[in-house]
Symmetry: C2
Subunit: 292 residues, 2 copies
Amino acid sequence: MIVDRLTEAIIAMQNPTCVGLDTALSYLPEELSGAKDARAAADAVLTFNRGIVDAVADIVPAVKIQIAYYEELGAEGLRAFRGTIDYARGKGLIVIADAKRNDIGATASRYASAFFGEAFPSDFLTVNAYLGTDGVLPFLGACTERDRGLFVLVKTSNPSSGELQDRVLADGRTVYECMGDMVAGWGAGTEGRYGYTRVGAVVGATYPEQAKTLRARLPHTFFLVPGYGAQGGDAEMLKSCFGAGGTGAIVNNSRGILCAYRKRGGTYAEAARAAALDMRSDLRSVLGEIHG
Amino acid sequence: MIVDRLTEAIIAMQNPTCVGLDTALSYLPEELSGAKDARAAADAVLTFNRGIVDAVADIVPAVKIQIAYYEELGAEGLRAFRGTIDYARGKGLIVIADAKRNDIGATASRYASAFFGEAFPSDFLTVNAYLGTDGVLPFLGACTERDRGLFVLVKTSNPSSGELQDRVLADGRTVYECMGDMVAGWGAGTEGRYGYTRVGAVVGATYPEQAKTLRARLPHTFFLVPGYGAQGGDAEMLKSCFGAGGTGAIVNNSRGILCAYRKRGGTYAEAARAAALDMRSDLRSVLGEIHG
């Protein structure tokens, strides 16, 4: 079961870190910049990503690939997106496609086919559930059939996330709690051996109070935690995202790893590895030993 | 201003209809089916779309291209998506990219670049605003700079849309009314000569009561109305989506036009044109003459 596989990789590496391949052209070092067209740019991005994957594959369990950065390069960019998925999975990494897809059922089933079928075969997909259950079930059906997983946006890491998500409903819950309860309902019955379901939640590192509330409310939901590093979240803030034994969450870092070479010097790959090891130390300083 | 251009095209054609190019491979007629790989499939989809565009370009003002159907074919599908955009715009149609994109600000700016820049240059983009203002502003900035527009999901057409969207907040508003008010705020100050702003709303034809509430609440918001035809909405139900003079809304129909040949016989292009003309008659029977 994919959430068990993720948990076991985290325990084996003692590292609940996910490297975010939000690879903007402007992040590339000099030797890879200067592409003259979309095809060359996409090739440069793919080369860079392979270097990052090679540098971290033995110390981090997963990568999260943010598709917006590839869509910006058009069809060629999507070719690099696919190439990155294949390369990372080939190196044993679990791949989270961060696409935040959402639509009515008939259309959601096409997205499910895109991200869990042949086009962009990923282990996890992020989804936005503003449309409710019938926009989520096609994804869940594909996950069950092919042993994949979802992360549904619950409480996002950005400054404005509270405008809708923190609103209080007439029944006393906040919108993010209501969404969290829906997520728990969609996942119910799919618990793996560590107690977590196929339907995870995106919970930002930047809102520790809300994360604490959600962790207590959703004991069987695995959290994907963005917002560490460049967005302002630190290890102490995101401690509350984890369950017993330090499982139940994985923390993403994109720019802090991809662009580490600018602060640290050395090659981008060496700097990315050093930054990922520092992040592991930082997380372990608050989590202690991770065990199932 | 793009919303004025859309309104003027609707008035000139007396037709507030948008043809949805949700082109599934299974919708293609025999002569275009049988592709052996993704490239051939994408070519067949593009050929079909060109036929539809040629058949309707003089009687409908806009097409809405649902990107999920193209993503399912991978990078080749995205090439067909781009080819469809170019062909439709080349024939004078206004192109709505239905991608429901959403993310934090830094990432939203990449999506804005993808759909309003060089990759997939569209006139309008649908977006999901669960993340709040900072996930919308990068899109709005690109719209202002390049004269494009947005449609934000407010009340969607699917059966489960009420699970979150119809919830009542402590302040007495529903979630969809709250989202509608945010949409009005983002659009404020961008009104064109017909009174509508750059930031439109997606309001499903299948919920006439909610549409009536939203029409009264959001007098300056242009509505994109899905759910007509295959999803169960009819002309009488969606009358309340329109403002004075029959402006302020455009109604999408996808399968009812793309697959019309199966019910009507004839070529798919002839049948699509006949179905689009029938839809125009249906809408005009409840709207009367459309004037600004």
